[in-house]
Symmetry: C2
């Protein structure tokens, strides 16, 4: 086994380690795609290993159960989204600007990546909200923005449900049919109107350019 480490202190991985990570990534990518296609409920380990082109027994070198790989995929998706959106909106002190930016990025990503849109739809859970954590983040932002006067809600819980429902339907629409380019912006405008953001302010925040670094597909590269 070759030692690739060129410099002291850097953590360059051995070939065996990289192969191991690639197998793990392929298993997770197959699981993610299957969740997007048909939900997390009826997964079969053999289907996952076949789609990942990995021997059945290898599965257990990485995950002890089916639930363990589903949890790993959901955690990775949650961390990925939150870090992308948080990094993009961190520079904005104005709550409406930061909220609108995250919302537009999330919608734009659904328009560009149908698998991601399906994944969000399939992992949306009643009651507990979307397991990915995006729905909880949305709910917290709405509550905090209402508390500090950035947003106006008559009944916060109902407004959260209406906005969550609108985003679910928007993700479903983008997942299942080709939607026009301006669709994400129309959805974002509707969300802001529901929060009683003034029309002029809506127009202003929707004109803030989105970061133009493309978001790579989920699990496209080894972690």
């Amino acid at each position: 086994m070759r030692d690739d480490t060129p410099f002291a202190g850097t953590a360059v991985k051995s070939r065996a380690e990289r192969r191991r990570e690639d197998t793990r990534r392929r298993l997770m990518l197959a699981t993610y795609t299957m969740i997007a296609l048909r939900g997390a409920d009826n997964l079969v380990i053999q289907d996952i290993t076949e789609a990942a082109d990995v021997g059945y027994g290898s599965f257990y070198n990485h995950f002890s159960t089916k639930d363990a790989i589903v949890d790993a995929v959901i955690d990775a998706a949650r961390e990925r989204s939150l870090s992308i959106y948080h990094a993009a909106s961190a520079g904005f002190e104005n709550r409406v600007e930061a909220f609108a930016l995250e919302l537009r990025m999330c919608l734009q990503q659904c328009l560009e990546d149908k698998t991601w849109a399906w994944y969000l739809v399939r992992t949306f859970k009643p009651g507990g909200g979307c397991r990915i954590g995006l729905f909880e983040r949305l709910q917290r932002s709405i509550a905090a923005g209402t508390a500090d006067g950035s947003f106006v809600c008559h009944d916060v819980e109902m407004t959260q449900a209406a906005i969550g429902g609108l985003l679910l339907i928007a993700a479903l629409s983008m997942a299942s049919s080709p939607m026009p380019e301006d669709y994400p912006e129309r959805v974002a405008a509707e969300v802001l109107r529901q929060l009683h953001v003034p029309a002029q302010e809506i127009e202003r925040v929707l004109n803030i350019p989105l970061p133009n670094t493309p978001i790579p597909p989920f699990l496209a590269h080894a972690a």
Copy 2:
């Protein structure tokens, strides 16, 4: 075979006919319950006949395929809902009153019948809307009410999506956890606020009593 017909012109059914209808009803009831439990996609005919306590071969005396029984259940559910809501709201000339009454009845029914709530959630389809036809009826009412000035929408399509999404989340919530008694009325109030119905008018229409004839469970009796 006994002839039960006591009066000329009435269509009292023969015993064989009643048994046949009862078998058909039990097959449809089992299918309805399975759709509510896990959706219409992965149904197996043998599971349906076992749940209905009907011989496997009998299935084909009533339905030629699995899709045929699913369609029959969906059609029966659509007709049932539309006739109940239409009968209840037919006496109201005021559009806001009629709309609010149908909405409240639909929500109340979800609160009281979890299987029905799950059924509505599972048959909700992206794009085409809910296969049961309720979503289309909702969309038409919103569009017509906006056209005649009963409702105010900035972007009709987005308002339809937001209200549809809110009702989907409300049905999910009522299907999956026990919700307080005032939940349907809070949801209805939010829907009317989204349509910019004035607060005083919302209060007034929510105080119109619902019809107090209980709605029997779907397919409880032979058709």
